[in-house]
Amino acid sequence: MKRFFGPALVAAVLGIAVHAAIIYLSPQFIMDRAYTMLGERGTPVHGFQLSPQMRPDTQSVVRPSPDLAYSGCRFDLSQAPDGLLVRMAAFDGYSSLSFFDAQTNNFLTVRGNGEAQEVTLTRENSPSDKGIILIRRLAPTEEDYMKVAEIAKSDICEVQ
């Protein structure tokens, strides 16, 4: 049995290392893929894009809500030394402006409450250089979505 001690120790160390690597690196890997995929679908770095109404043929991330209109902006603070100005235009219904870091954490959310909301994002208040900013607005009907489409033109995500 003693001759298996060394191999068993190697197996245990490698097993723990692989286990930990998968657990700790997966969120970043999945977020990185989402960041790239959103870019391929037209969401710019430092600019908001309103996604089409969430339907089976338009969904781009898992479990989208078809009742919400999503506007996305990808950010990369390494390209914005003075930070980003992020502004969500006013909307009568439910709206929120949320920030996600490279680890998938929702590190900041500001609710609309019928008024425009503004945030300056910098390396001081963002846990990571890269991430995704998402505006959600309640739009269960086609008519609601068309209203959002007009309002979303005034959203801002730009380098200061």
Binding site: A11, L14, A17, V18, V62, R63, N106
Partner: protein
Amino acid sequence: MKRAAIYILFALVGIAIGGYTALAMSGLLPGDRRTQGSVVLGNWYGDLAIGSEDASPYFRTRIARHGLLALANTEAIYFTSIVDDSGRPFSEACNYRLSGGAMPARWWSVTLYNSDNFLPDNADGALSFDASRAEAQNGADGQWSAIISAERPDGETAWLSSKAGGNFDLTFRLYVPDEGVLGDPTGMIEAPSVERLDCAGEAA
């Protein structure tokens, strides 16, 4: 040579066990469903740590896979169910009655997803039932109901289409939960009921 082979064999076994357990514990295995969470409302599972930096590494990975870009609990809380009230897995072959009452949140919805975490591939435009539709029903004490089925039901009944949903699941969202909900979710939220009515080719 034989010694080296033993080391390699053990190393491979260690890597396989470490990798498999990580995938299984964090919901990354193919076919894994988003059905874990510390808050249980009947057959609905949720976790108030979604989107939070306080989430455990395992839970963060699970949510990255099954609910990426979910909001933190002060803004929204999420519950998922894969079974009806009697504990049987949801099936596109069956019809269900989804029902409930007033919810302690500014807005709420119930949305149907396939086992890949996406909206099922149909053109029915009926994949979600939300607070605005419930209000339109104007039921006593805020009571509401909708039918879940692969075919549109007769009449003006509210409908969620399960066409192409296979063994679908439901996600129940509450946006801007009322004060006190985060402290006592099981006491303050009465989750929707999903009663199985009948199934194609079998008795209900």
